[in-house]
């Protein structure tokens, strides 16, 4: 009797979870469909000349897929963003750990770091192009320069907020330095790093696109520039849509990683947010 009701309870719970998951799918489909329909309608009133239309954009994507330009431009922008992001993350982690551990150095360089951070990095783009040419490297450098700070600040904060008691507990069991780093320090930094990467993804795309707008011969940023120059609204908006899809893919992959790596948080706040 008791066991039966427990099984029944469990069945109900799973059914509920399924329902919630289905409802989310439907909600999200609506959240995409409604703006598309409105846009299509608006394009009739306002004129395709100004805002293009979903149908035209879909068509353009199809044409670009056929003539290979979709791959050419997307791949270029993707490369710039991902390589720049990777370099920015690595540098940010290294600087963040050093500054997190070395208080005195951190205090000394803080005004300069803040100054550099507040400097609109976009203004560096022309310099990077002069130094590194209009190819991949200038954009990678620009992306890295934008990402590095957010990673640095997060990792530094992460290092400082590591639970001293846990480290002491390990030290009291005569754990080696390597064991402390592996079991305590690295895992404590992971959530901070993931947050930094989440913010960094948006910045990386901005960096890549801005770099391409200032000087490039391909890439989605270049495509926006090129098409808007000839009043090809469909072309510009198509590039934006592709950028958006790119960002969504980046974020989706990150969310998958987060769910795997941050499983241990499920008891604390996971249930509040879902």
């Amino acid at each position: 009797m008791k066991a039966e009701s427990a099984a029944e309870f469990e069945r109900q719970r799973q059914l509920n979870a399924l329902k919630v998951a289905m409802r989310l799918r439907v909600d999200r489909a609506i959240a995409v469909a409604v703006p598309l329909v409105l846009w299509q309608l608006a394009s009739h009133w306002v004129g395709k000349k100004w805002i293009s239309s979903p149908v035209d954009v879909a068509q353009r994507i199809w044409f670009m897929l056929l003539d290979g330009s979709l791959e050419l431009h997307t791949w270029e922008t993707f490369k710039e963003a991902i390589i720049g992001l990777a370099i920015g993350v690595v540098l940010g982690v290294v600087f963040g750990i050093v500054l997190g551990l070395w208080r005195r150095l951190s205090d000394a360089v803080d005004p300069v770091v803040m100054g550099l951070y507040s400097l609109p990095r976009v203004s560096l783009a022309p310099l990077f192009i002069i130094w590194l040419g209009i190819g991949l490297f200038a954009k990678v450098a620009l992306v890295a320069s934008m990402v590095v700070f957010v990673v640095l600040f997060n990792v530094r904060e992460g290092v400082r907020s590591i639970d001293r008691e846990i480290i002491d507990a390990f030290r009291s069991m005569n754990a080696s330095r390597a064991a402390v780093i592996r079991h305590v320090i690295v895992p404590s930094l992971v959530p901070w790093l993931l947050t930094a990467i989440r913010i960094g993804i948006g910045m990386a795309l901005v960096g890549a696109v801005v770099g391409e707008m200032i000087g490039a011969s391909r890439g989605l940023g270049w495509y926006v520039n090129h098409t808007s120059g000839v009043y090809d609204m469909t072309g510009s908006i198509t590039a934006l849509v592709i950028l958006m899809i790119l960002a969504m893919i980046f974020n989706g992959v990150l969310a998958l990683i987060e769910r795997r790596v941050l499983r241990w948080r499920r008891g604390s706040d996971a249930w509040i947010t879902t």
Binding site: E165, S172, N174, W264, G267
Partner: protein
């Protein structure tokens, strides 16, 4: 056999000199300029024999946790020396099992993984460590929770996981900072008794911080009462209670109440000092 207060023989032999604390003071760095403002310990001296169980009681903030940290070699004393097993403590001595007041578990590891780390740091292989962790968690009543993360455990459960981790490390000196404080009365008796059995079998040395006078008398060979901050030794009470003891039954022994009263008198005096100073 009925345990009797005042009985001379107890299973745990008190050969002197496992832990030797001599004239130890500690001043925390930082704010506070007035004399004694950030002085946590003031000239503390006492010894703990090999296999002896000493309970430490004192008002909150009197430096009990600080004293345990010093003995474990996590940081050096401002003045005085501490020796463990005859070696002056300059770094963390081997075989110390420190249970922190906070549970200090890794939030990203499950209960069993947290406990296994204790065994692994003691040099056990992964498989053996896990088996040991499994057994310890079952013994302490957490068989159902071995695969849960700390965020999914109650405070008392976390404390028991932390205690299991300390046991898994197989120390010969236990430094326990309020190990049973988060447990309900029944669990406390169960865990207390399990702990007593292990100790009475292996005879490790124990320094045990608690706020519970009854618990201190029931467990310890000696109760050390500390003064309000900065901590000094206010009084010491030898507890001549036969072993093996029972965490709960020991309290029924004649003489227990008088001892409790004496300790409470000292403690109350110290606490009053703190309260009137702050009020």
């Amino acid at each position: 056999m009925e345990p009797q207060l005042g009985a001379t023989s107890h299973g745990i032999a008190a050969t002197p000199g496992k832990i030797d604390i001599r004239g130890v003071s500690l001043r925390y760095p930082g704010f506070g300029s007035g004399e004694g403002s950030n002085l946590a310990l003031d000239n503390v001296s006492f010894g703990i024999g090999d296999g002896e169980f000493v309970a430490i009681i004192g008002p909150s903030g009197c430096g009990k946790s600080t004293l345990l940290r010093l003995v474990s070699g996590l940081f050096p004393a401002t003045a005085g020396t501490i020796a463990v097993s005859g070696q002056v403590v300059t770094k963390v001595p081997p075989g110390i099992g420190f249970l922190f007041q906070s549970d200090a578990l890794l939030p990203w590891k499950t209960a069993i993984e947290n406990v296994a780390i204790g065994a692994m740091l003691a040099g056990k292989g992964q498989k053996e460590a896990r088996a040991r962790a499994h057994a310890l968690l079952h013994e302490i009543g957490l068989g159902q929770a071995i695969d849960r993360y700390p965020s999914e455990l109650s405070g008392g459960m976390r404390k028991r996981v932390a205690l299991s981790r300390t046991m898994a490390y197989e120390p010969n000196v236990f430094l326990l900072d309020e190990p049973f404080s988060a447990l309900d009365a029944q669990t406390r008796i169960h865990v207390g008794n399990r702990f007593l059995r292990v100790l009475e079998r292996l005879g490790q040395t124990v320094m045990f911080v608690t706020h519970d006078i009854d618990e201190a008398i029931a467990l310890a060979d000696r109760v050390v009462v500390m003064t309000a901050a900065p901590g000094r030794i206010a009084a010491e009470f030898p507890i001549n209670l036969a072993r093996p003891r029972d965490y709960y039954q020991s309290r029924m022994v004649p003489g227990f109440r008088e001892l409790q009263g004496q300790i409470w008198d000292v403690l109350r005096r110290e606490m009053q000092g703190v309260l009137s100073r702050e009020g």
